[in-house]
Amino acid sequence: MARKDKMSGNEAVATAMRQIEPDVMAAFPITPSTEIPQYYSKFIADGKVDTEFIAVESEHSAMSACMGASAAGARAVTATSSAGLAYMWEVLYIVASSSLPVVMAVVNRALSAPININNDHSDSMGARDTGWIQLYAESNQEVYDNYIQAFSIAEACRLPVMVCQDGFITSHGVSNIELLEDSEVKDFVGEYMPADYLLKSENPLAIGPFGVSSYYMEIKRKQAESMKASMPIITEVADKYAKLSGRQYSFFEEYMMDDADIALLIIGSSAGTAKATVNLLRSEGKKVGLIKLRVFRPFPRESLAKAMCKVKAVAIMDKAESFSNSGGPLFSEARSSLYDLPNKPYAINYIYGLGGRDITVEHFCEIYNDLFAIIDSNDPGDVYRYIGVRDSRFK
């Protein structure tokens, strides 16, 4: 039985965490994810959950303790943002490469410098090649739903999962949410029963070898294969979750795409503003659509390319700079996925929302207008653009 409530995205994650009741949580405070360990510590203090909380002295240690706990056979979780995620960098790779299904709530925030506590995706986008599955959410409801699904995905794939949401926008914004019953969540995630773990008395385990060149490459190839193999598992888990919750998730959501001439590809909470823009332009008879990407890792290159090919021009929205001189991370990958298709849309990159810069309906209207101009003129112009930046030289 679903239960209607209202809460922030951070509280939604903490609530899902309470319903799952992991064995170990190791966390270090950082804005804007701090509330998650705070809420959870209170659940522990009130005797509502039986979880070992490790109040580590840094995020590097948070991820290290999660690694130790997960390897030992426990369900291990943490939460972080921005510099905290950056500080974990080294261990992110090791956890993924050791096939450990750690689940991490990432509350996306800009990276320094200058120091900034507001939302963009630089932190998790920077960690896109660490071997973690990455799920992104538009709303509090989605982050709650993604968080619950993350455990089934991680444990079936033997890969760690980042469950990302937008700092302050969803993490602190309170909205209506439909929660599952505690027992439904417990049944959905089930008991964690790894095949091999350090505390398995009858069969000790060794993790983290020195792998010389005669072994290393095969190990990496297998790791890449397990990311590929996670694709059908993500779908299976989403289908199973839909049966329970009535909410169906996929790798991406298509909004008004069937007859669209142009579209946006976007990640996270700004999809809400973009959908409002789609509604507005549709009311004016303009055939615009939107694709909201939920799963960035593994990158659904074939199905996403197919969806983008429904339109003549697509604006690929990056809430992260990658300083590559060839656009943001989503642009690079989404545009590359179009390469093999015979009839490609124009693909234009817009960097937006860095460090919490607002993006509005007016901005999205401007982008859609740009796309209409491009398909009319057959001239894409510079494909690497900024939106919402004051200095007109840098647009």
Partner: protein, 311 residues
């Protein structure tokens, strides 16, 4: 039961031969010695910081350990070990793990005094149920003998080399044992490989069977980095203790105890002269180096005796 090395050596080996550590290296002796102090019925999870020990004892697909083992990175052995220990507490409480497990982390001085100090301090402050063992060979040996904060003054290391205008490392060795003692953990001890290994064994046993965070600092010579013949390892350890360069002491529940007081403290030259890393100190004109090193050791020894209230 009275300690007898012979009896201890009859126990089933938990760290097998065939690993790739150098002959005359202390790291393997430290691991074997600590694991020998485990009750045979008890299981262990061993965490290892990146180090000579790690790359020599778990070279894919072979492990030298009979017990479960985890290596993550250089800086995080204590935090990783905390995670394994917390998982045990949780799973044991839920009845999912039946056996008794002990949690032991091994790190070199680089991974302990330097890059791993924050992680170690965190684990010690939380009083995480574990034993952290530093095998202190006084430099970054795995990468080729670079100086660490555990390298003693005057030592010739590859990032503090001797030269026309350099006498080797400038700074004195960090006193990590005292730093960990300041965390007020249940047990901290300094030891090395001497005689029949009684001191080492007993301290390992106390550390393993005292609840909470325990720390062993083990002087663990390195033949390549220190420059000595492999067979001279026990003699070097003995001289480190007899010269008071490496005093044997422990702090159990806040009580400081010096475990061995030499009847006649030997001059520091006896320890230094056996190692090529200090060879330049014996050249004409460098007598001041030996004097200075001796003064420092004397000061540190007196300080320790006062602290432990030894008259």
């Amino acid at each position: 039961m009275v300690y007898k090395l012979k009896n201890e050596l009859e126990k089933k080996e938990r760290f097998s031969g065939g690993h790739r550590l150098c002959s005359g290296c202390g790291a393997g002796i430290a691991v074997r010695g600590v694991l020998r102090a485990l009750e045979e019925k008890d299981k262990a999870v061993i965490t290892n910081a990146t180090s000579c020990l790690e790359v020599s004892s778990f070279l894919y697909p072979y492990t030298a350990y009979a017990d479960s083992y985890i290596h993550s990175a250089f800086a995080n052995a204590a935090a990783t070990c905390s995670g394994t220990s917390a998982a045990y507490a949780s799973l044991k409480r839920k009845g999912k793990v039946k056996d008794n497990f002990k949690f032991i982390a091994f790190g070199g001085d680089g991974g302990t005094y330097d890059i791993g100090l924050q992680s170690l301090s965190g684990a010690m402050e939380r009083n995480s149920d574990m034993v952290y063992v530093c095998y202190d060979n006084e430099a970054y040996m795995n990468t080729g003998i670079q100086r660490s904060s555990a390298t003693p003054r005057f030592a010739d290391a590859t990032t503090s080399p001797t030269g026309a205008v350099s006498y080797g490392k400038v700074q004195n060795k960090k006193n990590l044992t005292e730093i960990i003692a300041a965390h007020n953990v249940p047990y901290v001890a300094q030891t090395t490989f001497t005689g029949n290994m009684k001191d080492f064994h007993e301290k390992s046993k106390i550390a393993l069977y005292t609840e909470g965070a325990c720390f062993l600092n083990v002087l663990s010579p390195c033949p390549r980095g220190w420059g000595y013949e492999a067979s001279l390892l026990p003699e070097l350890c003995r001289l480190a203790v007899e010269t008071c360069v490496w005093p044997l002491y422990e702090i159990l529940n806040g009580e400081w105890k010096v475990n061995y007081i030499p009847k006649k403290k030997l001059p520091i030259e006896e320890f230094l002269s056996m190692q090529t890393r200090f060879a330049h100190m014996f050249k004409p004109g460098n007598e001041w180096m030996i004097e200075s090193a001796q003064t420092y050791v004397d000061e540190q020894w007196d300080k320790l005796l006062k602290r432990a209230k030894v008259n």
